[in-house]
Symmetry: C2
Subunit: 404 residues, 2 copies
């Protein structure tokens, strides 16, 4: 008998029929003797509908009240799956974030989990019930509702698995597992049977939408066995695992593409110490996560400061820069939303020299101009014009994965 | 400066434009210096959509999980109105039932409010914010979500007004106030400027949908000044008030019609003591509210037991009766859903003799057959075939109100 946490994404609970399929799988696992906690997302499209409603109501909707709207999507799915399970004779009850509770900080819209009390969930399992948990949501210590950011239900599932010491956390989705690249872009992309936490972390933060990045962090930190698999069939998916010997033999595990990129450049700021702090202090204070940063000093004692942010934060970041012009100077602010970030990821980069050089060669051979570069121990990312994104991904997959 | 609780119904918050209108009115009251708590319903149609989803998921959806679904409607409206208010510069925050908290019993689907802690609302008002409260919902002492039954947002508003000692509770709706009858049935129906609590209680329980019955009970018990008015214009509506001298001068204040009636008859049960208890014990235990009861003893030592329930409870009640056949006997169970209850209400009935006789004369003159009769000190109700409902209402309104 195992303790299993399952998470079903939006397409797996898109309508009552799909929810019945989920209930069927849950019933099957339960009759195999497993204790089950099931974490659900909002029905596909529902979160977008709710956030659109928030934007219709206010030009700059406050994150705290937007979370009040957005969390209703998962609330509906959790109640509905509990009803469907009960209807087929499986004892079940729903849990909202505040009922467990899943306590988060007050970073509305992208809160971080601080603590999960496993008592109520344990009591429900001990009573022979399936616990159906609304994903994506939490509650602050003073009772306000929060969300964990897009894809946050993965993190709910892994964090609950960690809190309960579950035997496995299964992430059910509409794909078979983690692929070497997006199969819609690269027809030859292969499913990986295993991937190391660090590789998955890089891929998740580089635009591979299969897992929420914080869920991978939790899985790594608390050693939660994580299995990404399809809700449409029973085949094995991809296990996200601790690094194992032999994993470094493969230089590049995956090629990722992230179109959610916006670039901002402050042109001609004085080249003196403290400028970067003056810019990125207010940006961070506004809750905007800056990805790449480049600063080029020029001959005339000024410098151009360029950085990238998620597209949703572009307007906010631009307003902040406009407000700073008076203190930091700068001739103008330039922006570009027509971008993509293309990345290669692999533990093997630590062992194999020359990967970066080879990457630039491949891109140059296709005539792709690289605008920004960022590297870590196990990944290299480049920002390119959006029109080159697919070409770059295919060329890199061919060179590093198909031909390796 | 007054402390005002306002409640807006589903048609008043049907879409973002209507919510903007509500925000405008709230802003106006606030700039007049009032402290405001605003209770909102779900956007029109939303509760039905959510309950239909529950019924799609389960044949007999569990009330507890249905409440988890249903409460999301008011949650969305409360967050959205808070956003719209903030957008026009009015400080506001939303409150869900569990956040105040509004503690109820665990009668899921039709819970009763046990206690409202006014501390958080008072702090919000003291901070100069408008408190926007999701109506219809509460929380049990162990943190499960409940609903107060259809129309329950009225009760949320009046109960909060009582807890805060508000100066007035305004119920905004799509009609101008309380009418002598439904204007869609009786074109000559008049708006009442005042109505006594007891008359309103009878009308509300007899099918006049303008106020949730428990809201009137709360208003009476805690002496909350209650004003039913239109959200479309500024005119005075109807004040629901303590009984005043002169109110008895009018014999009939209103004529109500309730189509939500189902009749069940157990035919030929043995006529011995305890039968009624054996029937109505299990019915009550299932949370079904029985309205009228008639028992006719016949010559052969058996009796027919007839009673009415809301249509939603008909199937459940019928199953209970079928299950009881073994213990109580009875030749058959008969049911009828094609019914209406037509009632006349007025404090004046206490002082005026012969109202009942006149009512039956009026109905007989129109050829309307009366199936069941029920009376109280200030009302007389009759159950008739549904096809006679409008005819009966018009005839009674003509006889008792237009001609008086």
């Amino acid at each position: 008998m195992s303790l299993v946490v399952q998470k079903y994404g939006g397409t797996s609970v898109a309508d009552v029929d799909r929810i019945r399929h989920v209930a069927e799988r849950v019933a099957r696992c339960r009759s195999a003797g497993d204790d089950l906690v099931v974490v659900v997302s909002a029905m596909a499209g529902e979160t977008n509908r709710l956030l659109a409603l928030a934007r219709a109501g206010a030009e700059m909707p406050n994150d705290c009240e937007s979370d009040v709207l957005a969390t209703t999507g998962e609330q509906v799915t959790s109640g509905l799956l509990a009803l469907v399970l009960q209807d087929r004779g499986v004892p079940a009850r729903s849990f909202l974030g505040f009922q467990i509770p899943i306590v988060t900080d007050d970073g509305f819209g992208r809160a971080r989990i601080r603590e999960i009390d496993p008592t109520a969930l344990r009591a429900t399992l001990a009573a022979g019930q399936v616990a159906v948990v609304a994903g994506f949501q939490g509650v602050t210590h003073d009772g306000r509702i929060t969300t964990l950011g897009r894809g946050g239900s993965d993190t709910t599932a892994v964090a609950i698995a960690a809190a309960l010491g579950a035997d496995v956390c299964e992430i059910y989705t509409d794909v078979d597992g983690v692929y070497t690249s997006d199969p819609r872009i690269v027809p030859g992309a292969r499913k990986l049977s295993r991937i190391a936490h660090d590789e998955m972390l890089e891929l998740a933060s580089l635009g591979a939408k299969v897992l929420h990045i914080r869920s991978v962090e939790f899985a790594k930190r608390y050693a939660v066995p994580l299995h990404v698999r399809s809700s449409f069939h029973d085949g094995e998916g991809t296990w996200v695992v601790r690094e194992e010997s032999g994993m470094e033999d493969v230089s590049v595990a995956g090629v990722a593409c992230d179109r959610d990129q916006a670039k901002l450049t402050v042109v001609g700021v004085p080249d003196r110490p403290g400028i970067a702090a003056q810019v990125f202090g207010p940006v961070a204070a506004a809750g905007i996560v800056v990805d790449m940063i480049i600063q080029n000093a020029s001959e005339d004692g000024t410098t151009d400061l360029t950085f990238t942010v998620p597209q949703a934060d572009y307007a906010k970041a631009r307003r902040i820069l406009d407000g700073l012009r008076g203190t930091i100077g700068g001739r103008e602010i330039r922006g570009d939303l027509d971008l993509a970030k293309v990345s290669i990821v692999g533990l093997g980069m630590r062992a194999h020299a020359g990967i970066a050089a080879r990457m630039f060669e491949v891109l140059a051979a296709e005539g792709v101009n690289v605008q920004m570069i960022s590297t870590s121990e196990i990944k290299i990312s480049v920002v390119v014009a959006a029109k080159y994104a697919e070409l770059a991904v295919r060329a890199l997959h061919d060179a590093f994965i198909t031909e390796s």
